[in-house]
Structure formats: structure tokens, C-alpha cells
Amino acid sequence: MCLGVPGKVLAIDGLNATVDFFGVKKELRLDIVDEPVKVGDYVLNHVGFAIRRIPPEEVKETLALFDQILEITGAKEDLMAADVRGEIAAGKDKP
């Protein structure tokens, strides 16, 4: 529930991993992560411990999930229209 930030594993030394958080590196502990972690994996950091290995295919699946939620409500067709409306509105806000 608390601050969890995803990062990419660069190196592993026993129970310690060096993880890259989009430009900033930090050491994380691997004691409690749910699956074995290897270099190149994405993990979620919480207070210096990796608590989850994020499967890379999940990014696409998450976006597909969002689209599915939109489809059920019939709001997906609106996505394109909303895009256009958004552009017009953004243009209006500028002085």
C-alpha cells in the first residue's frame, strides 16, 4: 500500500541486487520477492526490499485491461473523440 517504485535489475550478488530506477541506482534486498529474479527483470521496490517481480508482458496486459474496462462501459469509442476534444480544449486554455 505504500510507496512502491518499479526498477530494472542491473546486477545480483547473493541476496542483494543493484536496481536502476530510470537513471538512479539503488541496492535492494531480495529476501522476500515472490519469484527468482535475474538481471534484466523489473522489480517493485518497497523500503529497500524487492516485493514483486513484474513480468514484462504485464505492461501490455495492463493496458489491455484498461481498454477492456472502457469497452464494457461503451466509453472506448469515446477515446478517439475524447482525444480530439482534449486537443481542442488544450488549445483553448493557452492565452
Partner: protein, 378 residues
């Protein structure tokens, strides 16, 4: 390129956000009356506040922040224990969030200003390093946060810790927060957003009996803006269709069973006990206490903690007037509280709603009410 990856993994696409907001609006319109849903996570509230998400929710939907900030619900007497230890000469290590939380009279920041050895750490492993660095000191780690954080504390307890290291646990348990809200008769909450990172540990299966019993759908949500909006869209859809189900809207991190090694670690070291949460009466199984087998590393057993000197009995008595519990359920507003802006102010907060920078009372105090920014123009 690093920036694109960041954006992709962060799920912040404004076009999708607008579409999800529209989906929410449609669901709420289909329900046909005002509804209230609750989330029980301080970080969800931080994300909602940070991205201004309430400004895109329809007026018929009230999104209430429940008792989900573990720091804010840590009670005064619990902080007194840490302050008393600092006064007794112990080196107390704490996460930054807890530093300024007042006990019945003083905070750890006050104890530090008075010469106490209080250190802010980012990780419990740093506290262990400090114990190794200062072999002549007793070092106590104040374990705060929900089970997501408690797992880290447990991992440290299981790795052999130095002789001079011990743990003062004020950890809390998230499912108990939802139970306490649902158990109140006057509650008008019809759906719950479950805390995503706690669910990484526990899995979402544990919410199924809760949903069945209360008749309220539960959706597990992540922390990016799209995660939260998608979860609310799904929740309002389930409410519209009167389906008291559990839906996992954070599949990249949460599974049904959860992180089993972490759970094993957690329950090997901790057990849930009933405790008092700040501003709320007793919460059944709300606190995580070190199991008796871990007495050797339990600060409460190692030290005779004398809180008498740091306690303020008058303040404790007065604190009984706090109505945070009702405010957190959306049943009362800050101005209904006898303590609000008199004895309860940001510098000396009594209840959780004033402790948290996103708490209802803190917001009202700072902005003179809940600001409606829907129509602010450039």
C-alpha cells in the same frame, strides 16, 4: 529511450484517463443516485491528491479516504513508547513519516531536539547497520506501516540480527481497516478500493469472503493515475450491476494467492492482535505484534519502557473527544469535532485526519474547506 519506458511503465496517458473518467461518469449516472466508495490506503490518497483525480470524478460519486494511513492511525501511547526509549538513551531508528507524529505529548522529533539519539532510516536494514556501527548502544527499530512494510521487518528478524538490535512494532494490518469500516451500522460505503501493495503480499483472495459477507464489491488498485481511474471505473460498474465480487485491476503486481514466501516470513514473525487505532476505537486484529518466540528481539520485552514521564494524561483525556472515526467514514465533517482547530491543529494533531497531509481535517484547516477546483481557469 529511458523517458519513454518511464512513461509506459507509469501509466499516465491523459487521453486514456479522460476516457476512464467518462466511463465512471456513465456508471454513476446508470446507478442513478449519489454513491460513496472508500479506499483504505494512504498512498492511494497521496496519488489521488497529487494528480488531482477527484476533480475528474462525477459529482454523484464520493471517494472517501478511510483509515488507510498506517502512520496516522498509530496511537499516541504507541509513539510514547518510542519517545520513552529515546529518553532512556536508546538509539531509536524510524522511517521519516513517523518522526513528527506526536505521542500524547511529544514526538520523536521533539525527543531528538532534546538530545535523544533518533535516526531517520529509509530501510530497516539501515537500522541493523547502525546497530553494527554502534555496538555500545541499544538500537531499536520502530516498525511502522502496514503488512507491506512489516514483511521487511520480519525478514530482518529472521536474518540473524546483532545482539544490540531490537524491534518496537507498531505495524498495522490492512484487511482489519476494511472490516472495521464495514462493521459500522451507519456506514454508507457501497464499494471498496483495496490497497494494491498490501495485496501484493496477501493476495486478493482474502477479500472474497469480505465481499460476499458485506455485499460490497472490492477492486484491487495500483498507484498510477490510470490504475486508480480504471479501478474506480470497474468498481462503479460492479456496483451498477449489483455484483459483490472481487476484481484485480493490478494484475502486474497482484495475484490471488499473493507472495507466498513473503506471507510465510510475515506470519512466522508477527501475529495480529486487537489494538486501538488513533481516533478510532478498538480494531480487531488491527495490530501486528511480534510472536512470543521472538521475545529476544522484541523491544517491549527487552526494556522496561517507562512512558509515565513522557505521557500527558490530560491530552489523552481530551483526545477522547476526537471524531476521526466518523470523519473517515464520511459521516461527519471536521467542523463537527470539538477539538478541530482548537486543540487539534497541524503542529499538534490529535487524530489521524489532521496528522496526514491528505487527511480531511488537515485539508479543511489549510484551505478552509475542500477546494473545488473544477472550474478554475488559466
Amino acid at each position: 529511450m529511458a523517458r519513454d519506458l518511464f512513461a509506459e511503465l507509469k501509466f499516465r496517458d491523459p487521453a486514456r484517463a479522460r476516457a476512464l473518467a467518462e466511463a465512471i461518469r456513465r456508471n454513476v449516472a446508470a446507478i442513478g443516485r449519489p454513491v460513496s466508495v472508500m479506499h483504505v490506503c494512504g498512498s492511494h490518497e497521496q496519488a489521488i491528491a497529487r494528480f488531482g483525480l477527484r476533480a475528474v470524478l462525477p459529482e454523484g460519486l464520493q471517494l472517501i479516504m478511510g483509515p488507510g494511513c498506517p502512520v496516522c492511525v498509530t496511537d499516541g501511547p504507541e509513539v510514547d513508547e518510542a519517545v520513552a526509549l529515546a529518553a532512556q538513551g536508546v538509539r531509536v531508528c524510524t522511517y521519516g513519516d513517523m518522526l513528527r507524529l506526536p505521542g500524547t505529548a511529544r514526538s520523536l522529533a521533539d525527543a531528538k531536539a532534546d538530545g535523544g539519539k533518533v535516526e531517520v532510516v529509509y530501510s530497516v536494514s539501515q537500522a541493523v547497520e547502525l546497530a553494527e556501527k554502534h555496538p555500545g548502544d541499544e538500537v531499536v527499530f520502530l516498525g511502522s506501516g502496514f503488512e507491506t512494510t512489516a514483511v521487511a521487518t520480519a525478514a530482518i528478524a529472521l536474518a540473524p540480527a546483532p545482539r544490540n538490535f531490537s524491534i518496537l512494532s507498531v505495524h498495522k494490518y490492512v484487511p482489519a481497516a476494511m472490516e472495521v469500516v464495514a462493521s459500522i451500522e451507519t456506514t454508507n460505503i457501497e464499494g471498496y478500493i483495496a490497497a494494491g501493495h498490501a495485496a501484493i503480499i496477501t493476495g486478493f483472495g482474502i477479500f472474497e469472503p469480505f465481499a460476499a459477507r458485506t455485499g460490497c464489491p472490492v477492486v484491487v488498485a495500483g498507484f498510477e493515475p490510470l490504475d486508480i481511474l480504471a479501478a474506480i471505473a470497474k468498481l462503479t460498474e460492479l456496483m451498477r450491476d449489483e455484483r459483490p465480487e472481487v476484481f484485480n485491476a493490478y494484475p502486474r503486481c497482484v495475484s490471488r494467492e499473493g507472495n507466498l514466501p513473503a506471507q510465510q516470513t510475515l506470519w512466522k514473525v508477527f501475529r495480529p492482535v486487537t489494538g486501538k487505532w488513533r481516533g478510532i476505537a478498538e480494531v480487531k486484529d488491527g495490530n501486528l505484534d511480534l510472536r512470543p518466540e521472538w521475545a529476544a528481539i522484541d523491544a517491549r520485552r527487552r526494556f522496561a519502557i517507562d512512558t509515565a514521564a513522557v505521557r500527558d494524561a490530560d491530552a489523552e483525556e481530551e483526545a477522547k473527544g476526537c471524531i476521526c472515526g466518523s470523519i473517515m467514514l464520511g459521516l461527519a465533517v471536521p467542523t463537527d469535532c470539538p477539538l478541530y482547530q482548537r486543540t487539534c491543529v497541524p503542529d499538534s494533531p490529535v487524530g489521524a485526519c489532521m496528522v496526514s497531509s491528505e487527511g480531511q481535517c488537515r485539508i479543511w484547516h489549510t484551505y478552509g474547506g475542500t477546494p473545488d477546483l473544477r472550474r478554475v481557469g488559466t
